[in-house]
């Protein structure tokens, strides 16, 4: 499994260096700023997108769950990281890779940025299927760019995606333990005319 994982990242990263514009596009996509901000903006936009009071409350509660899921997925990734410090591909196969990104120092499994992206996409999907699919596509592209850049193995990306979606599902389920607090938070923000 580990060998297939390494073979895929070496093969995919081996395609770099041929078409500069594609490499540059992957560098932009892999950036710490572009896709994470896209996920945050999607959640921010959905907060204001409801067309009637009932729809607004539903969107806003889902966005609160989504934001909590983002934080919790970070915590889950951290917990996995302290129990398994998987080296990055460029550490184990440095000679065979053309690194397109800075060398991160945290463990490889699971991919934290992908976990965050998939948690946000799952939140968006639960209120708008079509928009959610676009978000899943963006999160997948984010993961692919990091894979192409040589900083993650494919199983890190899959692991990150699973963590993001599972944590979102668990967080939505956990909401039942925290009601009526979640609804009251939305009412408080509504008291400031922002919900």
């Amino acid at each position: 499994m580990s060998s297939i994982d390494a073979d895929i990242v070496i093969w995919l990263n081996g395609l770099s260096g041929n078409v500069k514009i594609f490499d540059d596009l992957m560098r932009l996509m892999a950036s710490d700023y572009l896709m994470p901000l896209t996920f945050s903006l999607a959640m921010f936009g959905l907060w204001f997108s409801g067309k009637n009071p009932a729809e607004r409350v539903r969107y806003q509660i889902t966005m609160l769950i989504g934001i909590s899921a983002l934080s919790l997925s970070n915590a889950v990734v951290w917990l996995i990281n302290i129990s398994w410090d998987r080296p990055r591909p460029f550490v184990e196969h440095g000679d065979e890779l053309n690194l397109l990104f800075y060398p991160p120092t945290d463990p490889s499994f699971p991919a934290n940025p992908v976990a965050v992206g998939f948690a946000a996409a799952a939140a968006a999907w639960s209120i708008n299927r079509k928009f959610g699919l676009w978000m899943f596509a963006a999160a997948t592209l984010f993961g692919f760019s990091r894979l192409y850049a040589g900083v993650f193995y494919p199983t890190d990306i899959i692991g990150g995606a699973v963590v993001g979606v599972v944590v979102y599902i668990l967080t939505s389920y956990l909401r039942r333990f925290l009601e009526p607090l979640v609804t009251s938070i939305v009412r408080l923000i509504r008291g400031l005319s922002a919900a």
Binding site: D23, D24, L25, R27, L28, A30, S31, D32, Y33, L34, P36, L37, S40, L41, A42, F44, G45, L46, W47, F48, S49, G50, K51, P53, R56, N74, L99, L100, F101, Y102, P103, P104, T105, N112, V116, R176, F177, L178, E179, P180, L181, T183, S184, R187, L188, R190, G191, L192, S193, A194, A195
Partner: protein
């Protein structure tokens, strides 16, 4: 020039804040144009707001990623040297622009926590700017039916629903009043409707019944 991580972080934080502010303002304009929340529109026309939103998002992205061309930072040789600690401080060239912003957080890039602080601040500022300009719009620019209806009838609903036809400042007192008069009922109804495993129902459920 120093490549001290704190100096680099300051540069990144100010650029990121501008990026997040413009993109949030754009996203907000698209969202409120679609939902008809006129009190937050930057212009009186829905279609103009929508395209202004797209333009603001694209300008935010372009500005953030093109800035290394004219502002000095730790991005020179960005695409040539992946290891951000050995980069030179200077302006980036076109060819190395795509990787110029890829600086590790231990060398001054913004980590997730810093972004989680700066993004909400930028989003709140975008909301505040929309509320102020939206109020000026309703009062000064749009002297048609909307302005007349606002003058004749004060808002009856708080929250975003009230912002559909009134300014933020006209709606705020109603929202605050609604919150104080309604929160007790929301809490009690919520407790009654909550799952039996709800922590709050366990602690407060009996007393509210």
């Amino acid at each position: 020039m120093s490549t001290d991580p704190e100096t680099v972080r300051d540069v990144f934080a100010s650029h990121y804040f501008l990026f997040a502010f413009l993109a949030s303002l754009g996203t907000l304009q698209i969202a409120v144009a679609n939902s008809g929340t006129r009190g937050l529109w930057l212009t009186p026309r829905r279609l103009v707001n929508r395209w202004l939103g797209v333009a603001l998002i694209l300008s935010g992205i372009a500005l953030f990623f093109l800035m290394p061309l004219w502002i000095e930072g730790p991005w020179a040789d960005g695409s040539l040297q992946a290891d951000s600690i050995i980069r030179e401080w200077g302006q980036a060239r076109w060819g190395e622009l795509a990787g110029a912003r890829n600086v590790n957080d231990i060398h001054g890039g913004l980590d997730g926590t810093k972004q989680a602080i700066w993004f909400p601040l930028a989003a709140i500022l975008a909301f505040a700017v929309s509320a102020v300009i939206g109020a000026l719009n309703i009062r000064n620019l749009n002297r048609g039916d909307l302005a007349a209806s606002e003058a004749k009838s004060p808002p009856t609903e708080g929250g975003l629903a009230g912002l559909e036809n009134h300014s933020y400042f006209a709606t705020l007192p109603v929202s605050i009043r609604e919150f104080w008069t309604g929160i007790g009922g929301v809490w009690r109804t919520g407790l009654l409707a909550a799952d039996r495993w709800s922590l709050f129902k366990m602690f407060f459920g009996r007393s509210s019944n």
